[in-house]
Amino acid sequence: MNKIVFFGGKGGVGKTTCSSSFALSCANKGMKTLLVSTDPAHSISDIFETKIGYKIVNIRENLEALEINSEIECKNYMNRVKANLKNVVSPIIVKEIKKQIDAAAISPGTEEAALFDKMIEIIIDKSEEYDKIIFDTAPTGHTVRLMSLPELLGAWLNSLISKRKKALELMQMAQNAGKKNKDEIENDAVIKILKKRYNNMQKARNIITNNDKLSFVFVLNAEKLPIEETKKAVNILDKYKIKVDSLIVNRILPDDIKDEFWINKKELEKKYIDEIYETFKGKKIIKIPMLKHDMGANNIKELIGYFEDESRLL
């Protein structure tokens, strides 16, 4: 049984609805479940109609939730860095560096990096505490970048570590007439920091690419653009050795339609559903109907039935 489940998909297809109902179905089965929203436009608090913040809260029996707040994560990181400035000698330099750190907060990519760091922290730290961890992710591109991050960052960190080691070795050789001191190099503060981050990336990478530990579920509608986007995303994830094993086709039109407009729509939908079965042969496909009313805290239980067959969403 896969512990970590990522729900991905184009914006507006119903990811949050699906991930929330799935989380509820797991919780109802007695699994201690954590639902994590990474979408800046956090919708899980809207669906459950309860306040969820950057700290884990309990929202139902066996179900806890968290909305990652990248601004706060970023601030925490910067404060940790600033705390290390006590190593620096000159107070003028400390002031300059603090200004630089604050300026970095508005630099592009910073909030995303903070978000990813938190996701990785959850994947590594919380997988012991919970039976199931479900990530409701932001629209596709963002998720794909997250999945490739440990590998890319790992490569960069590796090259940094070896460069630093080489420079330190040369320094030692120059000063000790050709002798190297391995212990001194391993105790270098910068190398320790780089190695710590590298080890975390490796741990995350091992979990992410392990098909027994992590599942990827893509949510789409029976429409042209979501299908195209899903195709692309599945291919990209495949390159990073991440298998998407299930698809959820959401918002299926009801069968008993009388109106001509909607009958046409239904036929188009059938065509797309056939295309989905054809293109994604070998993957589990779950169909979820369009509901009469909005999804909210009192009727979110309605969709649980579609996830009841646990083997469907492994």
């Binding site: 860095v81 290390n84 190593n87 330099i93 560096i97 940094l160 460069k163």
Partner: protein
Amino acid sequence: MNDKLKEFLENLKLFFQGASDFNRKSKAILEKEAHDQMDNFILLCFADMLGLPLPTSYYALEILPYIADDLEYWQRRMLDRKSIWGEKWGDWDLDA
């Protein structure tokens, strides 16, 4: 007796090293190379300070406190790196 012999041989070695400038010039070259490599390391982390955008600047921040003291001088050294060949030839005393 053994100690005196050892001391004599050590002094002899140092005499020849000093006379032939052995081990001293190479120390300077090693140090220069070491500083260059360290500068390159800092460049990989903080090139965005010189105007080269880096996607990894967020992660480089945690190293900042340990490099901070040298940063200003590093920037100046980087800006001085105008002519590669002139510098390299100069290292080896080959620029006329």
